[in-house]
């Protein structure tokens, strides 16, 4: 049995039945990381000793009859945006290269409390700003399907590590597609919960009204298992909703009778890779065969979502990133004349180019005289985009569309053209703008052998329907469980 290739579900069952030990599987993953991650660069920090210690602890607890549940002893990774007490948290930035958090994020704590073994911290675009993991201060992550290509981003390290079986699953964040787009490009399952479903406490902030944490896994079932653990209210995040968390694994039936699935015509955009379009159309036929009623719908403001996003997200980022001033933690420039000079040099030297570009854009959009024309306008268009979805969900229970208009692109292909890079997220952004749950899962391979994904969106707090549609498709598509050649 090759332990790194197990799903979370299977590993959990084998650990529970004492057929494999948490130490054994942790060692197997650490060995594989040692062997192949030098090239892929999916981890910024690997927790060798502490992962083994928690695996040993899990093993003893289980031996004594203290089994905690499906994540007990299961090795999981975290995007390096979630803080964990006493473990470096860089957020992919020079600014936080030496930052050691004195406490843990709620997501981290919930995984630790569930007995999961934290293997390490995954690479990411700097401060989650990017769609390719190329803006990381720690170098780009490579796509395990073709190492000349990007894994997508910003949770590219999490997606590539999951695809390459360097962890059994990872938790990432999605502000404009940062879980779903890399999941699509790496051939794994990536899920963004409803805004407010998962606590943002201890998750380094990018755009607070859009950021949401979610799992990257090999299967939809694994996604449901991880969401069961990380979801739920948190008094430390006032936007995290105190609503009951259902057992999401109960929604994984294979029958879609009575489910209405909307296909938004605006998501089949000009310039889309024909393989991606074909794959989505085949997926729709699979859903129809499973009993879903397919309905063509319109989300007329779709094309404006990316424009709205590139005002709202940089505006919120310019405010959130004001905290990096070299005073309390993080990088500080040396040889500075006075306080203001220290601020400027610290930020000029500590932030990378994309982060500066977004801070500049956000600061401009919020500055005197431009607020109404940019920020207020964007918030009004946000209402229109949300209303599109409200109307659609009067007619359908779920929406299915391609996740990304293209497959994985070449490293360096878009780095000189910010707008081209921003358009990578054209199909994932609307879901964030409206705060909906969405999941991307494999729907095929292109003629050149690269993964393609489709996404399933549902009403706010109806992750159950989203999982149900995704799971039924996954079990019947023939595209689940494909592994890259690493």
């Amino acid at each position: 049995m090759e332990l790194p290739f197990l799903t979370i579900k299977k590993a959990g069952e084998l650990i529970k039945g004492k057929e494999i030990s948490p130490v054994e599987i942790t060692k197997a993953l650490l060995k594989r990381i040692e062997e192949i991650d030098g090239d892929l660069n999916t981890y910024i920090t690997v927790l060798g000793d502490s992962a083994l210690e928690s695996a040993e602890r899990a093993e003893k607890e289980i031996a004594k009859g203290g089994y905690k549940g499906p994540l007990h002893g299961v090795p999981i990774a975290l995007k390096d945006i979630f803080i964990m007490k006493d473990v470096p948290a860089t957020c992919g930035s020079k600014m936080l290269e030496n930052f050691i958090p004195p406490y843990s994020a709620t997501v981290t704590q919930k995984l630790v409390d569930a007995g999961a073994v934290i293997l390490g911290k995954n690479n990411m675009d700097e401060f989650a700003m990017g769609s390719s993991t190329e803006t990381s201060y720690f170098g780009p992550t490579k796509n395990p399907w073709d190492t000349d290509r990007v894994p997508g981003g910003s949770s590219g390290g999490s997606a590539a590590a999951t695809a390459a079986s360097l962890c059994l699953g990872s938790v990432g964040t999605d502000t404009g597609g940062s879980i779903r787009q890399p999941a699509s490009l790496c051939g794994v399952v990536g899920m963004k919960p409803t805004y407010g479903r998962v606590s943002r406490f201890g998750m380094i902030a990018f755009a607070s009204s859009l950021d949401q944490a979610g799992p990257l896994t090999k299967t939809v079932e694994d996604s449901a298992i991880l969401l069961n653990t990380i979801a739920g209210g948190d008094r430390r995040d006032s936007t995290c909703v105190e609503a009951p968390v259902p057992d999401y694994t109960q929604s994984l039936t294979e029958d879609l009778k009575g489910i209405k699935v909307g296909i938004p015509k605006e998501y089949f955009v000009d310039g889309m890779d024909p393989d991606v379009e074909d794959s989505a159309k085949q997926a729709i036929e699979v859903l129809r065969d499973l009993g879903a009623e397919i309905v063509e719908i319109s989300l007329p403001h779709t094309e404006y979502a990316v424009l709205t996003y590139y005002i709202i997200a940089p505006s919120e980022a310019s405010s959130n990133l004001a905290r990096y001033d070299g005073v309390k933690y993080g990088y500080r420039a040396s040889d500075t004349k006075n306080l203001i000079d220290m601020y400027k040099k610290t930020r000029a030297e500590g932030f990378g180019e994309e982060v500066k570009r977004r801070i500049m854009l956000g600061t401009y959009a919020l500055s005197a005289g431009y607020y109404d024309a940019y920020y207020l306008k964007a918030l009004q268009v946000r209402t229109l985009i949300k209303q599109d979805f409200d109307e659609a969900f009067k007619k359908v229970d779920a929406i299915v569309a391609p996740t990304s208009p293209e497959t994985a692109f070449k490293i360096g292909e878009k780095t000189d053209d910010p707008i081209k890079m921003y358009l990578s997220d054209v199909l994932t952004i609307p879901c964030n703008i409206a705060g909906l749950p969405g999941i991307s899962l494999p729907s095929g391979l292109s003629s050149t052998g690269l993964p393609i994904g489709i996404q399933v969106l549902a009403r706010p707090f109806d992750e159950e329907t989203m999982f149900r549609v995704a799971h039924a498709y996954e079990k019947n598509s023939g595209w689940s469980g494909k592994r890259p050649p690493v």
Binding site: V327, N338, K344, R347, Y364, Q380, V381, T383
Partner: protein, 96 residues
């Protein structure tokens, strides 16, 4: 709306960033292109549309104002770039 080099210098000042001459030119061009692209939003009539700053319809939850155990002063200072005793230190605020 085209952005000028002076605008970029002004915004950099507001954002406490510093750029070399080459970077200012590059950012002027790139931000100009992005703003031009975003300009497409103005074709939408949003007269009377309520802005959505937040998707959730929730009010700010309140709790009792009570002292709780959290991190220690030493933990709060463990990442300080520079410190003196229990204080963060910064360069001079006012020039001589």
């Amino acid at each position: 709306m085209k952005i000028s080099k002076d605008d970029v210098i002004h915004v950099a000042e507001l954002a406490r960033l510093e750029f070399g001459e080459d970077e200012i030119q590059k950012f002027t061009d790139q931000l100009g292109n992005i703003l031009e692209y975003i300009e497409k939003l103005s074709e939408l009539d949003t007269e009377g549309v309520e802005p959505t700053s937040h998707v959730l319809d929730i009010s700010t939850p309140l709790r009792e104002d009570r002292v709780e155990e959290w991190i220690t002063p030493e933990e709060a200072l463990q990442n300080a770039p520079e410190r003196e005793d229990d204080f963060f230190t910064v360069p001079k605020v006012i020039d001589d």
